[in-house]
């Protein structure tokens, strides 16, 4: 969150820069199983974000001392391509931010994937951000859930993720990059919709208890639409493969 002096107006005539209302999502498109080699994969376009997620495994855990005798372990890589941003050429591979995102993403799937089915093995989740425009971790998790489901590995629920936060006095959903950079608070969340269990929660900026409660409700409210898009993507992939 840059506290730059040349902060742009993020709300003009009660609307956001891209014309959305405060509780409105960007357009989300998901394609399930675009990659041949992976056990499961998904491609997501969430606004201008373009992200690939792939699941490999279950396979033997390496190195062996990482293996758990009662369950599978999940390894996660999240990385942004050097050409994915609007600024200069990035460094390839995960930086510190990416390592933290991979950690909290892994924890989301440790909750919903039925790891006890595969003791001693590992499941790899790879998230590669090809183009970024704010909210990449949420879009990546939403795609990764579809990749897991497409892999056939049993899951308790199909989680989704979305960011919420505050722009001025308004609590708002799904920030673009420019909103993310200049908003007063940003809070990515991942939710398992069956019981609205919160699986990922990060926040920075400044929120009162009331604003925070409203933001969480907004993230839960957005879930139905996102879940529908995830399920449609899976349905379409099955129809394609059964032809």
């Amino acid at each position: 969150m840059a506290s730059s002096s040349n902060k742009p107006e993020l709300i003009v005539n009660g609307r956001r820069l891209d014309g959305r209302g405060f509780d409105e999502l960007r357009t989300i498109k998901i394609v399930a199983s675009p990659l041949k080699n992976a056990a499961g994969s998904a491609y997501i376009e969430w606004g201008n974000n373009k992200i690939l997620a792939a699941v490999y495994g279950p396979r033997e855990a390496t190195p062996r001392h990482f293996a758990e005798s009662t369950r599978a372990i999940i390894k996660c890589r999240y990385a942004m391509a050097p050409f994915s941003g609007l600024s200069e050429h990035g460094r390839s591979g995960p930086n510190r931010r990416a390592i933290e995102i991979a950690k909290v993403t892994k924890e989301v799937f440790e909750n919903v994937v039925m790891l006890n089915e595969y003791p001693g093995s590992q499941i790899d989740l790879f998230i590669e951000v090809l183009q970024s425009d704010g909210g990449t971790r949420a879009a990546g998790i939403t795609a990764a859930a579809v990749a897991f489901a497409a892999s056939g590995i049993p899951m308790r629920d199909l989680p989704y993720a979305v960011s919420v936060g505050r722009i001025g006095d308004e609590v708002a959903l799904d920030f673009t990059m420019i909103e993310d950079n200049y908003a007063d608070s940003d809070m990515p969340m991942a939710i398992a919709p069956r019981n609205n269990d919160v699986l990922l929660l990060q926040m920075d900026g400044k929120l009162t208890r009331e604003q925070l409660s409203k933001a969480v409700s907004m993230a839960i409210g957005a879930g139905k639409g996102i879940s529908e898009i995830q399920k449609n993507a899976l349905r379409e992939a099955y129809e394609r493969s059964s032809k």
Partner: protein, 261 residues
Amino acid sequence: MDAIDTVTRNHVRDIIKGGRRLDGRGLTDFRNIRIETGLIQNAEGSAQVDIGNTRVLAGVKLDVDEPMEDTPDQGNLIMSAELLPLASEKYETGPPSPDAIEFARVVDRGIRHGECFDLKSLFIEEGKVWGLFVDLYVLNYDGNLFDAGLLAAMSAIAGTRIPKYVNGKADREDRTARLSIRNMVSSATFAKIGKSIVLDPSGDEEKAADCRLTIATDGETVRAMQKGGMGAFTQKEIDELIGVSLNKHSGLKDMMTRAQV
């Protein structure tokens, strides 16, 4: 997880089911907290925090630095953490683990978004700013690094003195100027163990926990949060824990203020 961890985990979970904790604390009690500042005279600021048997030392250094491209009028805040092998049998040498990176970044967000000091006050001249480096050294691990880390970083920063800037260099012989503090933040970390939620989990309680939630506040508003672990929180739990965190701040703030020399 080895056998002894499994035994510990089951033991902690059994006790907490009965509404009690291993060390007899109430569910929303901190362990004893001790804050000592100024131990490292060579550093520009330092603080060591004990929460129970967890010990974290924070050291602050100010170096002449170049500003970030997008903030030419601001100094830089650089937070790092080391989970030293001497602090726990679980810690190993090598590059920073995801746990160490997460720890440093969560403490960083508490300080940065708590607006604890004005980064503009670290501006020196065109193209020159102070880089404020905070290193979190974990000396002994017994759970709840995050709250100890934020208390240590906040206390060390609150006592930081700025070297004199002479001919493009820092003159550390002359460190009379104080860093001006605008806001104090603290955090409260909770562990969810089965259906129970406890504040300030010990190492054994963290082993038994399904997940944790760290909430950094200034007593009025929430400034940063981080959930960790594979378990889940409900919306109602999150709201209640925010209430507890907001209430805990004034006591922690008093401790940090009293610890300043």
